[in-house]
Amino acid sequence: MDDFFRISLIAVLLTFTLVAYFLVVGALFNDRVTKTRNAIRHMPARAFWLGLVNLLFFGVIAFVLLSVAENAGAFVKGILTIPALVILAIITGLLSSGLTGMVSQLGEKLFPDLSAWKQNFWAAVILCVACALPFVGWFLLLPYVCFVGIGATILSFFQRNA
């Protein structure tokens, strides 16, 4: 029973932390998130494949760099770890913008009558809960959302200004 409550509490806290994170990212990088949302709205399939290609590529690069660094000496380890961490930081940045755009798009679709921040709040809660669904959420929905998010963020950099 204690384990159950502990897991539930962690899940709830994590959800609210993520919701707050998405709201903050949306407020700080409004232009980028708006462009990302437009890419998700107009080119979801292209965003998915672009995200898949880039996440797998950079993921493999970071993984290889970290694996090689683990078996190398101290100096080489430092040299290899830094680019790996930079790659991971870039992926995290792309993912943050992408997921915020996804949340914004979901909010607009699900709650058209609410104000913008309420749309984002409830959409983030719903997305977190949906991704927490065992197996389907973990292995299908979450990767899909991540791929689309990263791809849409990359597409947003190539978007012409209206």
Binding site: D3, R46, L50, V53, N54, F57, D113, P134, Q159
Partner: protein, 168 residues
């Protein structure tokens, strides 16, 4: 000589001045005030000649909307909420009885099993060996470098195709 104020001139034009005779007396002897009065007269005549503009947008409805109850707060929603609240109040004692009987170990076991499966999958992935590539005599590439080069080419191709129309 004290000149007439704009207010006094306006009141005189509107026939609401308290002392019209005094104003007329002053105007007869003051060219500056007469000139200002003429300017006011022409301005008002110009304003009066402007066509009546009709309001294209309703003003009352948006105000009514702004102060109206939110869309979700309808009678139906209120009745549904009341019924749901009543149902919760009725159900609470039953749930309090039932909750301790639910075996929560099943849920924890499920989570643990899922975690072990995920760990197993990761272990399996880490054991995958990259097939050894045939050595190229004129270029000493390791299999890892060859694999990375192949992945890079795929990445370039993929990005090139997917961003083809975006980069114009």
């Amino acid at each position: 000589m004290k000149h007439l104020t704009d207010e006094l001139l306006n009141e005189y034009l509107d026939h609401e001045a308290e002392d019209p005779a005094g104003i007329e007396e002053h105007l007869a002897s003051c060219a500056e005030c007469t000139s200002r009065l003429t300017e006011f007269k022409s301005l008002f005549a110009e304003l009066a000649s402007l066509p009546e503009a009709s309001i294209t947008r309703p003003v009352v409805i948006p105000l009514a909307k702004a102060y109206a109850l939110p869309r979700w707060l309808t009678w139906t929603a209120a009745v549904q909420s009341a019924i749901a609240l009543a149902a919760i109040i009725i159900a609470v004692p039953f749930l309090a009885d039932l909750l301790p009987k639910i075996d929560t170990r099943v849920l924890v076991d499920l989570a643990v099993e899922a975690q072990s499966q995920w760990t197993g999958l990761l272990d399996l992935l880490s054991q995958v060996q990259i097939p050894s590539m045939p050595e190229i005599p004129f270029a000493e590439f390791s299999s890892l470098m060859t694999a990375l080069a192949g992945v890079s080419v795929l990445w370039l191709l993929g990005n090139g195709l997917l961003l083809k129309n975006q980069m114009k």
